[in-house]
Amino acid sequence: MNMLRSAIALLLLVATPLRAEVQIQTITSPGGTDIWLVEEHSLPFTALEIHFEGGTALDRADKRGAINLMTGLIEEGAGDMTAQEFQAAREALAASYEFDSYDDGLTISARFLTENRDAAVDLLRQALNEPRFDQDAIDRVKGQVYAGIQSQEKNPNRIAGNSFYGAAFGDHPYGSNDSGTIDSVRALTREDIVQAWQDTLVSSRAHVSVVGDINAEQAGAVVDALLGGLPKAGPDLPPHVDFGLTGGMTVVDYDTPQSVALFGHSGIERDDPDFFAAYILNTILGGNGPQSILMEEVREKRGLTYGAYSYLVPKDHAEMFLGSFASSNDKMAEAVQVVKDIWADVSANGVTQEQLDAAKTYLTGEYPLRFDGNGPIASIMVGMQVQGLPPEYVVNRNDYINAVTLDDVNRVAAYLLKPDQLHFTVVGRPVGLETTQ
């Protein structure tokens, strides 16, 4: 077999004083798929991650939930094996395959032993390339999806999300629950599921990483076996969409003792030059657990919540700056006010040099610790590919963090944090809060 090595970059991840080494090889399989590989032969197994760009946002018109349902059916029989036969074969190999889909991607996390790698890969190949979508499996998994949807309808966090994202994104796929509704799922046919499979598992949209007891030639063969038979092109990705919610409050009545709040406004793109400054800003504001301003003010000082967090959410087709917390119904109003005040204060006055330095030491020290196993490394490498980052990023990333100045962070805080644009969606019976017009 002819292995075309388009590039071999041996990278050392050295973040003083740490001495981690992650040697990333970037190779191209004989079939033409780019693969990021880390050879780690000390344990006799391999972790494989595949990420197909697109995800449930590719659901066709009136077919909401098709890709989610299809994802649940990939492991329900393939080739000449029924669902039970397929799973019995997988269990006998002690391999694991996890399939998941979300707005922007469909992901496969697999791990398999060296001693039966060929058989484990062939089983996964059949799942991806020859799924059966038998009617009895469709009916059974639909039953599970209905149960999931019903559960979401009574889960305050999901109720908040459905309300918030629906108002923010309307008819765009981001605006609706990707499980679909009971009605939309009930109407899905086998043809719809086959279509969803062809639309989503598209080889040109696949990003692949392999970590473990495997070499470049073997990795190339594995990836070609898995992806070689899939469609090369898929339907257009959805368009970019602006965050459509304006400042205000939406209260969704739900009889439960503790209200949950989801809040936010528009955000920043992952490839914006200011992204690192925004990332550090979020770390200080609500990204870094107990050390964040939100945790200090809402939990530590006032005991209004068990946890308050903020998140930068750069999706493929929209950007958000979000946050969440839960407070007992009689405390929610005060907690909301504290969060609003923090937002206004940091937007107007910025953060301090001390806060910035603490965030930098945390972020730069924490980064190398993430590379602590085959599974985590495979996952990180596929994430980098999805974000369009080069392998060198693992070496340079801490330099990007360290290059951010206090002026950068506070300049970004001034335009990115928009106190008057902050929309809160609160689910529960919060005392003293009402939906604004």
Partner: protein, 444 residues
Amino acid sequence: MFRRLITAALIGSAPVGAAADAVTAYTLDNGMDVVVIEDHRAPVVVHMVWYKSGSADEPVGSSGVAHFLEHLMFKGTEKFPEGSLSEIVAANGGSDNAFTSYDYTAYYQRVAADRLPLMMEMEADRMNNIWLTDDFIATEREVILEERAQRTDNNPGSLAREQMMASQYLNHRYGVPVIGWRHEMEQLDLADALNFYTNYYAPNNAILVVAGDVQPAEVKALAEQYYGVLPREDALPPRFRPEEPQQTAERRLTYVDPRVSQPYLVRSYLAPERDPGDQSDAAALTYLAELLGGSSFTSVLSVKLQFESQIAVFTSAGYSGGSLDDTTFALSVAPAEGVTLSEAEAAMDAALQEFMARPIDADRMEALRTQIKAGQIYGKDDVEGLANQYGALLAQSLTVQDIQDWPEILASVTPEQIKEVAARVLNRDQSVTEWVVADREDAK
């Protein structure tokens, strides 16, 4: 989606052992146990201190105090005041947290390996020198009440489980929730927290687990330097808990909560745990759980209730042998649309009867043995997971030898053993059956 829960449960219950060659254990002169697990692939260390005291060791009437103290332990010491413990960990690029269970309270930091001495210095300091005032109490009590609201009061499944455990245990403290009963949590004060601290936070009641890119000899020297100097607590209370009496009556509960989206039933049986030098019943029960409900495709309950009939939308079995005292073996079934809980329970019991009457499928046994073996390999990819297992099991009175014997004990389990222990444990007189519904109308 229920499916993902099943997958997670299967992986979570995968029996994992650790290679003997990567684990070093010793005891300091003051009685503190030390376990070092080496993994040199990444320059990371997980540093944990496990106290062999948890919620089941709390005084009657002060439920939640073990967990409350766990929160207060982050307030600081004279040397590291005002939350600076966590700040210092973060400033060193690490993260820290803690957790409380029935049998233990544990504190950990995950940090670059060369920062280990600092972590030890801080953790050793707060073992002896916690500095608490009444100012902290009121606010932090609000935080744990919000935590209870988030984890339990806002979650009908958690509330249902709380009631079930209270019925399962007639005398033992496992019947009281780890987070505490709300009315008792509201009364917790500084004295309650300090009493628990004074009684139990001592080196001879603690286990140090250090896992990652470290050498055992270096860890030993550091442990002696930082922890070895702490005084032994000679007045450590004996670890005596009220034991369960003979249970002779089946209990049946109905939990009604409009927030329940999917009716389901749970059957919980009192079951033996892993004991020092005596783990074979627990090993057989581990297989029994896998055979009955570990796989959503090939286990008895899924085959009978989801494939051969469409009685259920979800089935599972759960058993974890890690426990100081008697634990539970649980089955659960969520009926499909149009199926009543009575019908689902009858189908579950029929499936159990049929399992007992027939030989155990040899292929399934073989597949489980393969998965156990593979679990040891996959488990080594996660050194933090190994550290957690060692810490928990040691705090639950097992020895390092017991933990290292476990894979071999699992591998040698026979179908006859499984049948024998199943006949003994699946005893309705020692069981609780709970129906969880949104409306009393659904309880039929």
